[in-house]
């Protein structure tokens, strides 16, 4: 069969090993030959391998992701673009997305995390939005694991080092430790931007003859095959994989951000996309795919940082801080002047063609000629076998009668507060600029972050949530809970959810048990999204999070955004004054499966995750929102890991002002440990003025939400009658120093 | 000519980086290590007629930009590469 012959394509690697080293199966190679009508040359093989990688093609997840609801009254752009977009009124739009950078962060934590932040920022400003807030969701191995501290230090410093320098505040996030992440950490980065509704820019290449302009940093050999790497699981080879790690340059990113936003105010631009995973190849092919066009690139024009780079390397490089623009014919010089002002390279490297081909030449010779559709729409889609593993029955077994209730419940509470999963994350977020752009109303540490939108009365609330342990025990319920908790966190600050973005972190999709977990999580998320009326607008799938065949807990992370019509009405989780009543919205149940308490006090990860009734969940959230709108809520806090007792301590000591005590009566309705530390869902602790109780009860009754007065704020003691009596200051120091103490 | 420039903190100026490295070395069993100081190392090439001319130029660069005389000292080596 013929091959597109080029000088450099003396094909050393079209052997079966060469094909396999590109992460392609034999069957996939046969499909490539069929689509091309000939054998690919070496460069083309590289192009296929990145475009057909799991990371770029979503080949194992595509058919399941379709189940997620993506429509809603506020949705302006659903999944498929660089980021999702929702309407926030006044002609403004919120643009947001979450993305994983797990594997690079494990290999080189500082740069891996930093470039993860860089990538998600570019996804947002390519849409025409100015990034104004970031969040992150991190998972590390057990705190005692020898690598954990090194990885934690590097990842946190990397996120801060990049985000701070670009001038985008990090306003919230979550950090969780569990041994299932010992050799495969998770670094999921979320960014939100604000754009004018009628000035959104798609990642589309349209208009025959329009120019492709390369802007930003020069191209080097870094990160070649990063997209393929993200689609492989870890093995002992990781040390030799170091060269594929990209190094970030946040200063260049900042210039790129300002220059792009300046360009977007003019009328020169058609479309734009970040050269992220799979670099120049994916940005140009995907834009042509969306635009129904073709592209023609002259690789000799690409600005290079290193000598002697081949077309293969230029096309697949993942050098950071680069963008590809589609600029109207005739406007090239005007566009270039803007980048010059910011001291950035801007070079015309190709044009949009009508032939629906991906063509690249190098020194006058054509080196790639592939139909766009072969790289995008016709990429393989797999319906991978999924099967519930038999071991699932075993891990769901939990004999509570065998679990002894601790004698000293106060000591158990202190152990929980001191544990890295529950202790204050101050050590982490103090390394992030939380205030730049002067919009931060509620900084890290609350149920959700709140930022104001300058020039309006509005605010946005943002949160990221996920609990891998719940999903491990029951992936369907875990999927439901991830969405429900995110929405509940928004309700606690007074925000109505507009949409969510998801980062789905799983093991290898060829493993039927992993595929079962994946499809169950998706089903759960779908049901939760539908019941709570929250559409999915963007997302990311990260498979192959496993080491030597052992997958991580299935860990979907949900990033949710909500609107506060009047930002000054926002609520924080912390008690405000002595004499306020402490009230529980929702119902305590005797549940301990999958709880932090069970793991910490008894070393058990077993049972079934907490039960949830989505109608009650929605009612509790509505009740909280209505009460906040009517101005009667002084504080509101969701009950999650560590249960009621931990949540109450957080209400007492979590704020920056002076701590307050509390006196609670908890009648004997169930096991003591379940009462204190059980993680029943759909519960919110609120505090109100005493004379607002009947008004709150009226709202709750209308919504069908059980209400229980727990006690009263005040004093310097933390009292849960008849189980716990401790000094608030003592609890505060245990909780505040838990993480820091371990990192000294 | 090739110039190797070493910028280091002046004696007496607190060097938290150096301190941290010293602590780590002690933890790894290198108890004999003392007075770790961390600095910057730069390499550059330049064309010049003579060694003296290079010296003058590089000294100027160091004083103007590469080192902060309030807290930093510098020295450099020139080679004919």
């Amino acid at each position: 069969m013929a091959r597109l012959e080029t000088k450099e394509s003396a094909p050393p690697s079209l052997s079966p090993e060469g094909i396999a080293s590109h992460g392609l199966t034999e069957e996939e190679y046969r499909k490539i030959v069929e689509l091309l009508g000939r054998e690919p040359n070496f460069t083309e093989l590289g192009v296929f391998s990145v475009m057909w990688s799991e990371h770029c093609s979503y080949k194992s997840s595509k058919n399941l992701l379709k189940l997620l609801p993506t429509e809603g009254p506020a949705v302006l752009q659903g999944p498929g673009e660089n980021a999702g977009v929702v309407d926030i009124g006044d002609g403004q739009a919120a643009v947001f997305k979450i993305e994983s950078h797990n594997h690079p962060s494990f290999i080189e934590p500082y740069q891996g995390a930093a470039t993860g932040v860089g990538g998600i920022l570019r996804d947002i400003f390519t849409m025409g939005a100015r990034p104004i807030a970031s969040l992150n969701s991190l998972r590390f191995g057990s705190f005692d694991h020898p690598r954990t501290r090194y990885l934690l230090n590097g990842v946190v410093a990397g996120i801060g080092g990049y985000g701070n320098c670009v001038g985008v505040p990090t306003v919230g996030g979550e950090v969780f430790f569990d041994e299932c992440y010992n050799a495969n950490i998770l670094v999921n980065a979320f960014t939100l931007g604000i754009a004018k509704k009628e000035r959104l820019f798609p990642g589309k290449a349209t208009g025959e003859g329009n120019s492709l302009i390369y802007v930003g940093a020069k191209t080097g050999r870094d990160g070649i095959h990063g997209a393929t790497m993200a689609s492989e699981s870890f093995s002992q080879r990781k040390e030799t994989r170091r060269p594929t790690v990209q190094v970030g340059d946040p200063f260049t990113e900042k210039l790129l951000l300002e220059a792009c936003l300046e360009l977007m105010e003019q009328d020169y631009l058609i479309g734009v996309q970040d050269m992220g995973a799979a670099g120049l190849t994916s940005s140009s092919a995907e834009m042509a795919g969306r635009g129904g066009t073709g592209v023609e690139l002259d690789l000799s024009l690409v600005p290079l940082r290193e000598k002697g780079m081949t077309p293969y390397e230029i096309l697949l490089s993942e050098s950071q801080e680069r963008m590809l623009l589609v600029v109207k014919k005739g406007s090239e010089e005007a566009a270039k002047r803007i980048f010059e002002r910011w001291d950035l390279d801007a070079v015309v490297v190709g044009k949009v063609t009508p032939d629906r081909l991906f063509r690249a030449s190098f020194n006058g010779e054509e080196v790639v000629r592939i139909p766009i559709a072969a790289l995008t729409a016709e990429a393989p889609v797999y319906h991978r076998p999924a099967e519930r593993p038999q071991s699932q029955d075993e891990i769901q077994k939990l004999e509570l009668s065998q679990v002894e209730v601790p004698k000293d419940l106060g000591a158990t509470l202190k152990n929980l507060l001191d544990s890295p999963n529950i202790a204050s994350k101050r050590w982490v977020y103090r390394q992030y600029d939380q205030f730049v752009r002067s919009n931060t109303v509620v900084a890290p540490g609350a149920d959700a972050a709140v930022i104001r939108i300058k020039g309006t009365d509005k605010g946005l609330a943002l949160t990221v949530d996920g609990n891998g342990r719940y999903c491990y025990l029951d992936p369907y319920v875990g999927g439901i809970l991830a969405v429900a908790e995110a929405a509940r966190n928004l309700a606690c600050v007074g925000a109505h959810p507009l949409g969510l973005t998801d980062c789905l972190n799983f093991g290898g999709p060829e493993n039927p048990a992993v595929m079962w977990q994946f499809s169950e999580v998706i089903r759960g998320m779908r049901d939760s999204c539908t019941a709570l009326a929250v559409p999915v607008v963007s997302g990311n799938v990260s498979f192959y999070n496993e080491t030597d065949g052992v997958p991580i807990y299935p860990t979907p992370v949900v990033g949710m955004v909500g609107l506060l019509p009047k930002v000054e009405r926002h609520v924080t989780p912390w008690f405000k004054s002595s004499g306020d009543l402490v009230v529980l919205l929702g119902r305590n149940r005797e549940e301990l499966g999958g709880s932090e308490y069970l793991k910490l006090a008894h070393g058990l990860v077993r049972g079934t995750p907490p039960w949830i009734d989505l109608r009650l969940e929605r009612a509790v959230q509505q009740c909280c929102l209505k009460a906040i709108e009517r101005g009667m809520i002084r504080s509101a806090h969701d009950i999650s890991e560590g249960g009621l007792a931990v949540a109450l301590v957080e209400c007492c000591v979590g704020g920056s002002e002076k701590s307050l005590g509390v006196k609670i009566d908890l009648p004997e309705t169930m096991r003591q440990d379940a009462r204190l530390f059980g993680e029943s869902q759909s519960r919110i602790i609120v505090s109100i003025k005493e004379n607002d109780l009947s008004r709150l009860e009226t709202i709750a009754e209308k919504e069908g939400v059980p209400v229980q007065v727990l006690g009263e704020v005040g004093g310097s003691r933390f009292i849960i009658q008849p189980l716990i009596q401790l000094a608030v200051d003592e609890l505060k120091s245990v909780w505040s120093d838990g993480l820091e103490r371990r990192l000294q | 000519m090739r110039v190797r420039i070493f910028v280091s903190l002046k004696e007496g100026v607190l060097d938290p980086h150096g301190k941290a490295v010293e602590r780590s070395l002690h933890m790894l069993g290198y108890g004999e290590v003392q007075d770790v100081r961390m600095g910057k190392y730069l390499e550059l090439s330049l064309d010049a007629s003579s060694r003296e001319a290079v010296e003058t130029r590089v000294r100027e660069m160091c004083e103007k930009l590469l080192a902060n005389p309030v807290i930093e000292d510098y020295r450099f080596e020139i080679s004919n590469e």
């Binding site: 900042k254 930002v567 | 902060n68």
Partner: protein, 238 residues
């Protein structure tokens, strides 16, 4: 009065200062591009926070050589008011307009948290609206904010009452725990001998509205407004 806010490549808090001055204090403000020369007649120039030129060599080291800085040095020599915040403070030290230098935080980490400042001197245009020993609650956010000056310089600063702000706890006392970066003598902000140039590490612009949790930062900006409006001849120059 007329304000200028410098935009270096890598400035991050330029917009924050601009918004605070225009939206909260209703002032006339213009951005000054780093590649331009200073032309306008201005009353006060702000060097904002950020990472000018990436801060890759030393914070503020490269920015001092930008075209705009030449005019600003001249402006300061003639008695014009210059306020450097965070990276702006670093640039002012690097360019010799302020004594001392800002080095890496002793804990070797970027630090972002609210701090209390004690206002030490009120006879400057940056602090004249405040009271001696008054506490202000502002956020810091920096990796290189540890103020250092040799003992001779420190003594001179003390004698000339050039130390305008110190880090303290909520009760107004200095302590290691209240000092976020290890600064010598807990120094958070200083002025020059002429008292018309001030630098500080904390960010008044991020604490100038109730919705942001503190309005204490306004004390600094409104001092400047007061000084400029009250004293045509800039009496603080003595």
């Amino acid at each position: 009065m007329r304000w200028g806010v410098v935009v270096f490549p890598g400035s991050c808090d330029d917009q924050d200062v601009y918004d605070c001055l225009t939206q909260v204090l209703r002032q006339k403000v213009e951005f000054l591009w780093h590649k331009d020369r200073l032309k306008e007649k201005l009353d006060c120039i702000v060097l904002p926070g950020g990472f000018s030129y990436g801060d890759y060599l030393r914070a503020g080291a490269v920015a001092r050589f930008s075209p705009i800085m030449e005019g600003i040095v001249e402006f300061a020599r003639e008695g014009g008011l210059v306020l450097g915040i965070c990276n702006g403070f670093q640039i002012l030290c690097e360019s010799g307009l302020l004594p001392g230098v800002l080095t890496r935080n002793t804990q070797l980490q970027f630090v972002c948290r609210p701090v209390y400042l004690r206002l030490e001197e009120t006879d400057t245009p940056f602090t004249c609206a405040g009271k001696k020993n008054q506490l202000l609650r502002l956020p810091v956010k920096h990796g290189e904010g540890c103020y250092y000056a040799d003992p001779v310089t420190l003594e001179r600063l003390q004698k000339n009452r050039q130390i305008l702000f110190r880090y303290v706890d909520s009760k107004g006392k200095t302590s290691a725990a209240a000092n976020p970066n290890g600064s010598v003598d807990h120094i958070a902000g200083v002025c020059n001998e002429g008292r018309n140039v001030m630098g500080l590490m904390p960010h008044p612009e991020d604490a100038s509205e109730k919705i942001l949790g503190s309005e204490d930062g306004l004390k600094i900006f409104s001092s400047i407004v007061e000084a400029c409006e009250k004293t045509e001849k800039r009496a603080w120059l003595g």
